[in-house]
């Protein structure tokens, strides 16, 4: 019995709800309506915050695919976020592409980069992979600044771009539109991720995380699945990066330091490792809690943030998703 068996890498999953098709559709619609509502209720600044939170949630979702579900620890997902942001920024500011056209390019480029990173990841596990990915996070700002590509990236000065304009028929201001864009793109990604995780591939990813040798004996091609998981994950996080580039309307190397990767990681842990819904919570956490920390103390908001983070993990060691699971289990016991 190894130590790993005792503290399972991830919280044990309780069975998912089984709901009928129409119920699921209804839930989905309700959720979407709930997500769109803020666009009409909030002030534009709050809407901007929420937009950023949704974007962070999407990035956390990407991380969750590879780290949560597939067990490949990445401390460097900020790098993919950066690549996505820069692809969009470069295409928009140098080549005048529309935002929408940059999305698939950004997804493909990030997917390829992720695929590439997936290869050393095949040989390296645990801490070694953590170092590798963390190195990536540390290296990306330097690479972005490098003079060889300065003409494209804008070097240390970064690039400016503009938000996508709301379509002329729509009665939205740019902030509302940006929020809706972020929600729609993210919702689509969440849905696809949800499908992926529930199906054959999702099971394979988790199986590989839990017991690679047994997974191989079941016919799972670890190399292919892991590298593709990395690519998928990078793709999702990269799309989040693209969204953030237009939401902030500016990219610079300093926007993508390793602190960003750490934030995403924190988002994943507090949201709940290997949880789709948890990723959403993680995005909200990393965006809003620093502000809460700041209202407590201006002198050292970082200290307060750290305390809140640890306190949260004390209360919910398996993240927000763990709470949901327990509530669900209790409800079921109560009902049954």
């Amino acid at each position: 019995m190894s130590a790993a068996e005792q503290t399972a890498a991830v919280p044990l999953r309780r069975p998912e709800t089984t709901v009928a098709g129409w119920q699921r559709a209804a839930l989905l619609l309700a959720g979407l309506a709930l997500a769109i509502l803020p666009a009409f209720l909030l002030e534009s600044f709050q809407l901007f915050q929420l937009t950023m939170a949704v974007i962070m949630a999407l990035a956390v979702l990407g991380l969750n695919i590879v780290t949560g579900y597939n067990g490949q620890i990445s401390l460097g997902h900020g790098a993919f976020f950066a690549v996505g942001a820069y692809v969009t920024a470069i295409l928009m500011s140098h080549l005048d592409w529309s935002f929408w056209a940059t999305l698939p390019v950004s997804a493909v480029v990030c997917g390829l980069v992720g695929y590439g990173v997936g290869f050393p990841a095949l040989r390296l596990g645990g801490l070694y992979l953590a170092l590798t990915t963390f190195s990536l996070a540390v290296a990306v700002p330097q690479i972005l600044k490098h003079k060889a590509i300065e003409d494209w990236t804008g070097g240390v000065q970064g690039l400016f771009l503009v938000k996508p304009d709301p379509p002329s028929w729509a009665p939205f201001d740019p902030d509302q539109w940006m929020y809706l864009v972020a929600v729609l793109v993210s919702a689509a990604c969440f849905l696809l991720a949800w499908n992926l995780i529930r199906g054959r591939i999702g099971r394979a990813l988790m199986a590989i995380r839990d017991h690679p040798t047994a997974a191989e004996a079941m016919g799972m091609d670890i190399a292919t699945l892991k590298t593709r998981a990395f690519a998928t994950s990078a793709m999702i996080t990269g799309i989040a990066g693209s969204l953030s580039a237009v939401a902030v309307e500016f990219v610079a190397p300093d926007s993508f330091t390793f602190a960003l990767s750490i934030s995403l990681f924190v988002g994943m842990v507090v949201g709940g490792v290997a949880s789709i819904l948890g990723s959403l919570f993680g995005g909200l956490f990393v965006l809003f809690v620093p502000n809460i920390a700041e209202t407590v103390s201006k002198a050292a908001p970082g200290v307060i943030y750290g305390i809140i983070l640890i306190g949260f993990l004390f209360i919910l060691p398996d993240g927000f998703a763990g709470l949901l699971r327990r509530l669900y289990a209790r409800a079921r016991r109560g009902a049954g």
Binding site: F48, Q142, A252, L260, P290
Partner: protein, 378 residues
């Protein structure tokens, strides 16, 4: 006539700074600014109004700067923005504030792009730009040793790269032939390797655009390996207490910088009225502040400038008038700036501090030499 952020008894001013994270050493600036405004409020405020200075943390991350700035503007409805920290961070909001026509005043960064009244009329910096400073050093080298080989050590970010740009401005096509570059990251533990590399190029002049910790290392290491170039240090990193003493004061003899501030650890200013005013302020408002930290003298200077603008506003604190006054400052002496260095602006010239003076470390303090240099016109 209700201007945003201004009521009968309050003026709201917003700012962002790195209160958390690796850049939080600059958070003392916000602390000092808050204290200066508190002193002003204690003395009755400005035009009968109390100053409410709101600072938010951006952790030196540009997206958060935008978030916090929007919060200040859209939620807290500040009258204007003042002394936000950092180049990438301010870049992220550059367009936002100009589109919204919000005064974006006296930024805590030495990039020279803030002095661009044509495209960005609402943004104005304060300190002399790093680029200007680098130009001064390059010119000085050309005067002293017209065919010098110049080594340039810089931090690989906007701050450091401005030194490269400044030297390039002066040398033009000769840059590649004359200059050997080495950069370091803010997270590097030491810069020994870079110094060894630069020494081995046979350079006889060395310009450093690096932060205090590395400055102390560089001064010490250059001395220890027996290299004796004509050495220049960015004025960001020349505090007697924070750089020269740790490096070993005798190891820095001959080091040149050009500053616009008085160094508080320099005995020459022991009885200087301006510095006494500052010390008195520190004693009363920031008793636990580290007196060796020259962010305090910086903050005192920039806050004084801000107060001058507010006084000039009379009773009209509309954004237009604040901006008008901020760009019409008659040459002004500020307590913590060197004699002869003035704060001044014109609507077509946003370089707030244009003068600097070369000074040389003599083992105990900085000795000024040459006249006051008009940097912006270099």
């Amino acid at each position: 006539q209700q201007a945003p952020g201004v009521t009968a008894n309050e003026i709201r001013i917003g700012s962002t700074n790195a209160l958390s994270g690796p850049a939080s050493s600059y958070s003392v600036i916000s602390r000092a600014l808050t204290a200066v405004f508190k002193r002003q409020n204690d003395q009755g405020g400005i035009a009968g109004r109390q100053i409410n200075f709101i600072v938010y943390d951006d952790g030196y991350q540009p997206p958060r700067t935008l978030e916090q700035t929007r919060r200040l503007v859209e939620q807290d409805r500040v009258a204007f923005l003042f002394n936000q920290l950092g180049t990438p961070t301010n870049s992220a909001i550059h367009r936002y504030v100009n589109q919204r026509k919000i005064p974006h005043l006296f930024l805590a960064t030495g990039a020279d792009k803030w002095a661009n009244p044509k495209e960005y009329p609402w943004t104005i910096g304060w300190q002399p730009s790093y680029r200007t400073e680098a130009q001064i050093y390059a010119k000085h080298i050309l005067e002293q040793k017209p065919d010098a080989k110049i080594a340039l050590l810089y931090q690989n970010d906007d701050f450091g790269k401005d030194y490269v740009n400044g030297v390039r401005d002066v040398l033009g096509p000769r840059f590649d032939a004359m200059v050997k570059l080495a950069s370091h990251e803010a997270t590097d533990p030491t810069i020994d390797s870079q110094i060894v590399s630069l020494q081995s190029t046979g350079a006889d002049a060395l310009i450093c655009g690096i932060i205090p910790r590395f400055a102390a290392q560089a001064i010490r290491r250059v001395h220890d390996i027996g290299w004796r170039p004509l050495m220049f240090m960015t004025n960001v990193s020349v505090s007697g207490a924070v750089v020269m003493q740790p490096a070993g004061p005798e190891k820095g003899i001959g080091l040149i910088t050009s500053d616009y501030r008085k160094d508080q650890s320099d005995p020459a200013w022991a009885n200087d009225p301006g510095m006494n005013e500052w010390r008195d302020f520190m004693r009363r408002y920031i008793p636990d502040g580290e007196l060796g930290d020259n962010n305090y003298t910086y903050a005192y200077g920039v806050a004084s400038t801000m107060l001058q603008v507010l006084r000039q506003c009379g009773n009209d604190f509309s954004r237009e008038n604040v901006m008008r006054q901020a760009t019409n400052i008659k040459p002004l002496d500020v307590a913590t700036l060197l004699p002869g260095v003035k704060v001044q602006t014109q609507p077509n010239n946003y370089n707030v501090i244009r003068q600097m003076q070369l000074q040389r470390w003599d083992g105990r303090s900085w000795v000024r030499f040459g006249g006051v240099i008009e940097g912006a016109n270099v």
